[in-house]
């Protein structure tokens, strides 16, 4: 228990931890000391001088963001002197800040506006000439307007400390000091846009958002990013059924304000011109032509019913993007409706062996939060910064805030090297030897989270878990999986258990009668051996797989539906529909409608109803509703005894920061910014 001190802030008696920063203590007690440069979690600057406060018995105003509280301190944060000082500082700031608020993207969300409103530097005595500098474009997504910049250095710090990239610096000095990008006039970076988000004014603006809207014209919809499996909450700014912006300024969700380029910008696939907006059916000449939903449902139901009636062979391939409800409904459809065990999805991590190896120890499953609090993190065979940018961010923050120790065992250089206490380079397949070489160091750690990629499979997973368990310290694990709901797909049962066929077996079989593909693209680099199979595909775009279909159904994306997804660490979160794309239906509605057409009773196909069924039937998913309903992340406890080995291939897609399977192909932003290849994967998704 830390030593407590008694102090007074604005007449209020307060007890606080000795040495805590005054600005934080005040904030925790409901008194805001304003600041531009102070930013929780980033290094202290004491540069903006807005947080000056009066401390009795000290002659000068004190800097609230660097002042440790002490016993007997009497502080005034809003006295006349303090308010006058702040007004004076704002007057200084406004001497060169252009008052172009009417056309500034930040207008309405600008901290400088708010501060001037609060301290009333409304009249300026500045009558000299302002210095104009032209706006610069640093990347497809980052624009910089130097005169608006107030030099709070938040962008520099979030890029350097938060992202571990360090692409922004400060050049010149004095009044012509300027934020500069790492390549003199352009940026080479993660393009995450964190610098734009954290900018208190409109100095850094976003290529996709600028001049699109006034912030108050948008509705803000908090949902879960549909790209990688980290489960970041992204708050979509929606106007007139268009997504205009993605950010997470309300710090909601497990990711706080963190978002990568995908979470912040790659929502634009939603409005891609090639989005399917009508069911398509093959005409007698073999060409696709639009059809109505009802005709499509009837045709599918007839084909499914007929195949089922004659004991035909079904293959069902689900998605690692669709919701838990959809995945649950799909497997129920396959198992109960068709009576088939042939159901699978693109498995990107060996969860089956992992769950089996842990044999029921749910407490060995690490959450995203554990990466921030663990004493040590060991990354095995994965390029976290490229594939799991949020987990990478968590580990970096853990180093900065808690001096955690990072270890990396990889086949190539990774960003974790910069902070790692030990980085081991191994040949492919040599990961476990690399891990073993760290044994003594790891044994000395207080606790450990082991994060491993798809290079650890089968026996490798068992060995790795055995290694962790032998260290004699608390060890938790994360088995990395790609995409927004790989974990949910596994948990919901999109797996060929009890003798079902894997994806590869389905594609290789010559006697499939029906292949139903929901939100997946298995034929991207593979052929379908069953030339007579009736192929139904639900997707957003005319993918390689969709091109093989008899009927293609236009599906809604994650940003267009409600439901839940489970992230790479097994935490369940709710999606919230942001927009509706004309002509599409959610996969759940599509499946429900087909079931209805087939007169199958698979239950009500409303997300909440299906989720209730999941909570009842899927082990470990009886999560507290208030948590998920209020936008929280609820860890699941899916482990329950032994898990049988599964047939088929486990392979990560090897996506980078700028790829995300077929969705990234239809994101103009992601295609515009591809430049920073993942070192481990040479920048190409596998």
């Amino acid at each position: 228990m830390a030593e407590l001190v008694n102090l007074t802030i604005n007449g209020q008696a307060i007890q606080a931890e000795k040495g805590a920063l005054l600005i934080e203590v005040a904030r925790q007690n409901g008194m805001e000391i304003p600041a531009f440069c102070y930013y929780e979690g980033l290094t202290l600057q004491a540069a903006c001088r807005m947080c000056l406060v009066e401390v009795e018995k000290t002659p000068k105003l004190q800097v609230g963001c660097t002042l440790p509280v002490a016993d007997g301190m009497v502080v005034h944060t809003e006295s006349e002197t303090v308010r006058a000082a702040r007004k004076g500082t704002l007057e200084f700031l406004l001497t060169n800040h252009p008052l172009d608020c009417p056309v500034c993207d930040k207008g309405g969300e600008c901290e400088l506006q708010d501060m001037v409103f609060r301290y009333g530097a409304g009249e300026s005595r500045f009558t000299e000439r302002k210095v104009h500098v032209d706006e610069q474009q640093w990347s497809p997504v980052v624009f910089f307007d130097a005169p608006r910049c107030i030099l709070c250095y938040r962008c520099v710090r979030v890029c350097n400390e938060g992202m571990g990239v360090g692409a922004l610096g400060v050049s010149n000095r004095g009044v012509i000091s300027e934020i500069v990008p790492n390549h003199h006039d352009y940026l080479e970076c993660d393009e995450c846009g964190a610098c734009i988000d954290i900018c208190p004014v409109g100095a850094l603006t976003s290529g996709s958002y600028r001049y699109q809207t006034r912030p108050w014209e948008m509705n803000h919809v908090g949902t879960i990013c549909t790209h990688c499996g980290d489960g970041c909450r992204t708050t979509l700014g929606v106007r007139d059924d268009h997504i205009i912006r993605g950010n997470n300024r309300d710090h909601s969700g497990i990711n706080g304000e963190f978002l990568c380029v995908k979470g912040r910008y790659a929502f634009d696939f939603v409005e891609h011109a090639e989005r399917l907006q009508s069911p398509m059916v093959r005409n007698p000449h073999g060409e696709f032509e639009p059809t109505s939903w009802s005709k499509a449902f009837t045709a599918i139901a007839e084909a499914f019913t007929a195949a089922h009636a004659r004991g035909g062979k079904f293959g069902v391939i689900g998605s690692n993007h669709t919701t838990n409800e959809e995945n649950y409904f799909l497997q129920k459809f396959a198992r109960e409706g068709f009576g088939t065990k042939n159901i699978d999805h693109h498995r990107t991590g060996d969860l089956a062996t992992f769950f089996d190896a842990l044999s029921g120890r749910n407490d060995a499953l690490a959450t995203a939060g554990d990466l921030y609090t663990a004493k040590a993190v060991l990354v095995v065979g994965a390029d976290l910064a490229q594939q799991h940018p949020f987990l990478s961010y968590q580990a970096r923050a853990n180093v900065r805030h808690h001096n955690a120790h990072i270890y990396a065992v990889t086949t190539g250089p990774v960003r974790e090297d910069n902070q790692a206490v030990a980085s081991i380079r191994v040949p492919a397949g040599g990961e476990l030897d690399g891990v073993e070489s760290l044994r003594d160091k790891l044994k000395a750690e207080g606790d450990l989270v082991i994060v491993f990629g798809d290079s650890i499979q089968g026996d490798g997973v068992r060995k790795l878990v055995a290694f962790g368990d032998s260290l004699g310290i608390p060890v938790k694990y994360v088995c990395l999986v790609d995409y927004s709901n790989s974990r949910g797909a596994f948990d919901m049962g999109l797996i060929p258990r009890d003798g079902g066929m894997s994806v590869q077996q389905m594609l290789a079989a010559k006697d499939l009668d029906v292949l139903w593909v929901v939100g997946a693209n298995p034929l991207k680099n593979a052929a379908l051996a069953s030339s007579n199979a009736f192929v139904i595909v639900q997707d957003l775009f005319m993918t390689e797989t969709a091109k093989h279909a008899h009927i293609v159904l236009p599906a809604a994306s994650a940003y267009e539906k409600n439901g839940t997804v489970t992230n790479v660490c097994g935490e369940v979160q709710k999606l919230k529909q942001a927009v509706k794309v004309m002509g599409t239906k959610t996969d759940l509605e599509i499946m429900g409608s087909i079931a209805k057409e087939m007169k199958l009773n698979l239950g009500i196909w409303l997300p909440d109803k299906v989720f209730a069924e999941i909570r009842k039937n899927v082990h470990g998913y009886d999560v507290p509703l208030p948590v998920v309903d209020t936008g929280g992340a609820a860890p699941t406890m899916p482990l329950n005894g032994r898990v049988a080995a599964l047939p088929g291939v486990v392979q990560s897609a090897g996506d980078t920061l700028f790829t995300s399977g077929s969705m990234s192909r239809y994101s103009k932003i992601l295609n515009a910014v591809i430049e920073s290849p993942g070192a481990l994967y040479g920048g190409k998704g596998r």
Binding site: A46, L52, L61, F92, I150, V170, R173, G174, V175
Partner: protein
């Protein structure tokens, strides 16, 4: 042949640190050794570190860079027992307008400073030092490099110095044009290869200085005073000055005087006497108008404030500072608007830009003064100059904001007439 000095010495000087100035080859190690050089180091080698620090404390030596912090106290803050390496850094970034003394100490007697550094090394248990010299003084960097090489060659630097078993390495380090790097923490950032931005304090450099290691940082003149203090004793040095203001210091006098130059006098020397007798008075029999007592950062004194002894405490009492020893004398013809403008141009140019009040304030003030000087002045500008300066004062990250505000406040307070005269002249033209 004795070396020709930049200015003739005055018989009224008390030459302690500058005792060897003007000797033949005064910069050579041989001359230094032949004239008491390295006696102090040998003596210090026999002393305990605490004794050395105690001697410095007794000397009442105060930092000669500008702030005037008691040197012995500063030395005592360096944690001698720290397991980290400890460094000695010499602030030879002499940039305070009006100040040109460190140049001479390095040029004429480099080994005196080197000996001072070595003694500090003994006291701190430090074995490495850097002399941070402003880039404009390239000839001095080369000069110091030669002196250092000479000291190495003759066993006064390097391993086992003079057979005492003490090792010390000393290097020069070039700046590249930045007044702010004279601020000790900005200097440390610069020494680390960064922009010269001041650091937050605490931690102070004594605890976490260069490369986060304990660092003793003093001015050239401060280190140069160490050998005589150790050699003759702190008490003897202290006795030269006034209480709490020990010893002599090199004062640089410039501006409107007949014999501008650098002269060494005891602390507490009367200012008017210094101007009149040592610096030869004001040319043309003109009257004294104002004095910058110790570099442009100090509040400017009116003529009637100048009848004071020059020590840290006396200057502080009348609201100014002894600063870096750069005294600028202005006669009755001086236009204080131009002085205020030039001073503010300097600070606006040299503001590092880190904090808002200094960055924006100095530039705004510069613009007002420029407009005023260009003939666009308004009555309200005078008050505005004062108010804006006060909005900087005490609110900036480092002392540069204060350094810009204080002379400006003093000028608009004490020489408002100069501004009014300009306005009146302008109105006459307008009519």
């Amino acid at each position: 042949m004795p070396k020709k000095l930049y200015n003739e010495p005055s018989p009224l000087e008390t030459r302690v640190l500058s005792a060897r100035f003007g000797l033949e080859n005064s910069e050579s190690l041989a001359t230094y050794v032949a004239n008491d050089g390295f006696k102090a180091f040998r003596k210090a080698r026999e002393m305990k570190p605490e004794q050395i620090i105690e001697e410095v404390k007794t000397s009442a030596l105060r930092g000669r860079g500008g702030a005037g912090f008691p040197t012995g106290l500063k030395w005592s803050f360096v944690p001698r027992s720290s397991p980290k390496p400890k460094y000695i850094v010499v602030n030879a970034d002499e940039s305070e307008p009006g100040t040109c003394k460190d140049r001479l100490l390095m040029e004429y007697d480099p080994h005196q400073m080197i000996e001072g550094i070595l003694i500090a090394g003994l006291a701190m248990d430090s074995h490495k030092g850097y002399i941070y010299i402003r880039g404009e003084y390239r000839y001095l960097i080369d000069h110091m490099d030669r002196a250092i090489a000479e000291a190495y060659a003759q066993g006064y630097l390097g391993k086992n110095i003079l057979g005492t078993g003490f090792d010390f390495d000393l290097y020069t380090h070039s700046g590249a044009g930045a007044y702010e790097c004279g601020e000790e923490t900005a200097l440390l950032d610069s020494l680390e290869g960064k922009r010269g931005i001041p650091r937050m304090k605490p931690p102070f450099p004594a605890v976490a200085g260069v490369w986060a290691c304990p660092t003793l940082l003093n001015n050239v003149e401060t280190f140069s005073a160490i050998p005589v203090i150790i050699r003759d004793g702190g008490a003897a040095f202290a006795a030269l000055g006034t209480p709490k203001n020990g010893g002599t210091r090199l004062l640089c006098i410039s501006g409107h005087v007949n014999k501008p130059g650098v002269y060494e006098v005891p602390l507490g020397y009367p200012m008017l006497k210094f101007i009149e007798e040592i610096a030869g008075g004001i040319p043309g029999g003109k009257k004294l108008k104002a004095v910058v007592p110790g570099g442009s950062s100090c509040p400017i004194l009116k003529a009637d404030e100048c009848d004071i002894p020059m020590d840290y405490d006396s200057l502080a009492k009348i609201g100014s500072m002894l600063g870096s020893g750069g005294m600028v004398v202005m006669d009755e013809t001086t236009d204080m608007v131009k002085v205020a403008l030039r001073i503010m141009r300097f600070y606006a140019h040299e503001s590092c830009g880190w904090c808002i009040p200094c960055r924006e304030g100095t530039t705004w003030l510069r613009k007002i003064l420029q407009r005023f000087d260009d003939g666009g002045g308004r009555h309200e500008d005078v008050a505005l100059l004062g108010e804006l300066s006060k909005n900087m004062l005490g609110r900036t990250f480092c002392a540069l904001g204060d350094a810009a505000a204080m002379p400006t406040i003093s000028i608009v307070d004490k020489f408002a007439d100069d501004f009014e005269k300009r306005l009146a002249a302008r109105e006459m033209v307008a009519v």
